[in-house]
């Protein structure tokens, strides 16, 4: 393929090259009036359909807590999804402070996933390196040494493994509980294990406190946004099965700004509640690199707040909704606060029943 041919963009009058000097492959458009496809923007350099608004500010990582965690993680050879997926909250979560401990989400089973979802910056390969059999125990020792009170575990998808990594994850959770004598609260954000019930059960019964699995988007956009091996029904099935297997709390997350409508979001929340999902988080999709899906819309903070109220009204244990919210954003803090609140409510109800008797 020779570099050098000019980009060809036809106007309605039938043909006028634009930027003849610009070296590019010869692409022809096939829609949209000017003849160029929505995907082609020969000049200026490509931009998202919407401009990034001011409310999506990002604090650059820094500070002692941050550098402390970073070196500890390297020392303990732990990988975080925070770094791998370029999370915008990294600076804030790792810094901690203001009454909540620093949180990081540990990524298990390596930094390479077998799937290629359009929103995700994690590396992809058909055959990632084999699992480290010592990872469950080493992770547990490392996290125990770290001294945090709430940890979120997550992983890549491993469709190359016979059990999709379920046993490995379950073992890690068990080790974590053992190493901390049950003090540590564990949330696991897990793959769909291709819907295999035994795999879901294995993880749900490993002793974890919160079983999380992300539906990512509304039903209509599942095939657009996620890898083809993922799906709406499958993910709902996983969440339901986890509850049935005994998981105390189930949790899921969706990204807004992928092209969904408000009605679809509300419908999604209703369906999740019907499947007895306890926690939902909603955040703005942000394009990690140019090689990923463009942002369809930057949803306003007000709209996020509205969804929060709607979700709370539907009876979720809690909902976290905001442009910068991610699945494990301040997960420990919210979990503890709301579980406590629920316990207090139940105690109050008990007392009322007792008094009335």
């Amino acid at each position: 393929m020779r570099r050098g041919p000019r980009c060809v963009q036809r106007d309605g009058a039938g043909g006028r090259p634009c930027c003849p000097a610009r070296p590019t492959l010869a692409f022809r458009g096939d829609g949209d009036g000017c003849g160029a496809t929505p995907l082609l923007r020969p000049c200026p350099p490509l931009q998202d359909k919407a401009r990034k608004p001011d409310w999506l500010k990002r604090e650059l990582p820094g500070g002692d807590a941050y550098t402390g965690i970073k070196s500890k993680l390297r020392e303990l050879k732990l990988a975080t999804v925070c770094e791998e997926a370029k999370c915008p909250n990294l600076g804030e979560c790792w810094k901690g402070g203001e009454g909540h401990a620093a949180t990081a989400t540990i990524m298990l089973m390596g930094d390479t996933c077998t799937r290629g979802c359009r929103f995700c910056a994690v590396k992809t390969s058909r055959a990632p390196p084999p699992l480290d059999p010592n990872e469950p125990e080493n992770t547990a020792k490392a996290v125990a040494a770290w001294g945090i009170e709430y940890v979120v575990l997550t992983s890549v998808d491993r469709d190359d493994l016979p059990d999709y990594g379920a046993a490995h994850i379950a073992a890690t959770i068990r080790h974590l509980k053992e190493q901390t004598a049950g003090r540590l609260l564990v949330e696991a954000l897990v793959p769909d294990f291709q819907g295999r019930r035994e795999c879901v059960d294995l993880v749900a019964r490993s002793g974890l406190d919160v079983f999380a699995h992300n539906v990512e988007t509304v039903e209509r956009l599942q095939g657009v946004v996620r890898d083809r091996r993922a799906g709406w029904a499958q993910s709902l099935g996983v969440l339901a099965a986890a509850k049935q297997a005994g998981a105390r709390v189930t949790k899921t997350s969706i990204m807004l700004g992928c092209g969904e409508t408000p009605d679809e979001v509300v419908q999604t929340l209703k369906t999740l509640r019907r499947y007895d999902v306890d926690v939902v988080t909603l955040g703005q999709y942000m394009r990690p690199t140019k090689r990923h899906m463009a942002v369809a819309e930057y949803v306003t903070p007000e709209a996020f707040e509205a969804y929060q109220k709607i979700a709370e009204g539907m009876g979720f244990l809690y909902a976290a909704s905001g442009p910068m919210v991610r699945s494990s954003y301040r997960a420990g803090e919210f979990f503890l606060k709301n579980m406590l609140r629920r316990q207090q409510q139940e105690a109050a109800e008990q007392a009322a029943v007792g008094a009335a008797a």
Partner: protein
């Protein structure tokens, strides 16, 4: 030489997605080869590529995945078209109402 069309596109700021970085786990780099002649010059897609192509939006008889087309002297002058929408996004100008 030997570079994939996907890589070349990215180097030239062409907006061709490559969510799975060329590992045959998605169909976001789907391109349509304009000329039957050039399409025939390309080596046959293997099963893995075909599996992914089957799910691509706007599939045609001369569709290929951009990450699987490797540059060679033979292909000098190759012209490809990017489908006007990837699966489902904003087809026929539909824009959802903002939240």
């Amino acid at each position: 030489m030997g570079k994939s069309l996907l890589e070349a596109a990215h180097e030239n700021e062409i907006e061709l997605e490559g969510a799975c970085e060329g590992s045959l786990a998605c169909s976001t780099c789907h391109v349509i080869v304009e000329d039957q002649e050039y399409y025939d010059k390309l080596p046959e897609p293997d099963d893995d590529e075909n599996d992914m192509l089957d799910l691509a939006f706007g599939l045609t008889d001369t569709s290929r995945l951009g990450c699987q087309i490797l540059a060679s002297k033979e292909l000098d002058g190759l012209v490809v078209r990017i489908p006007s929408a990837t699966r489902n996004m904003a087809v026929d100008g539909f824009r959802p109402k903002p939240h």
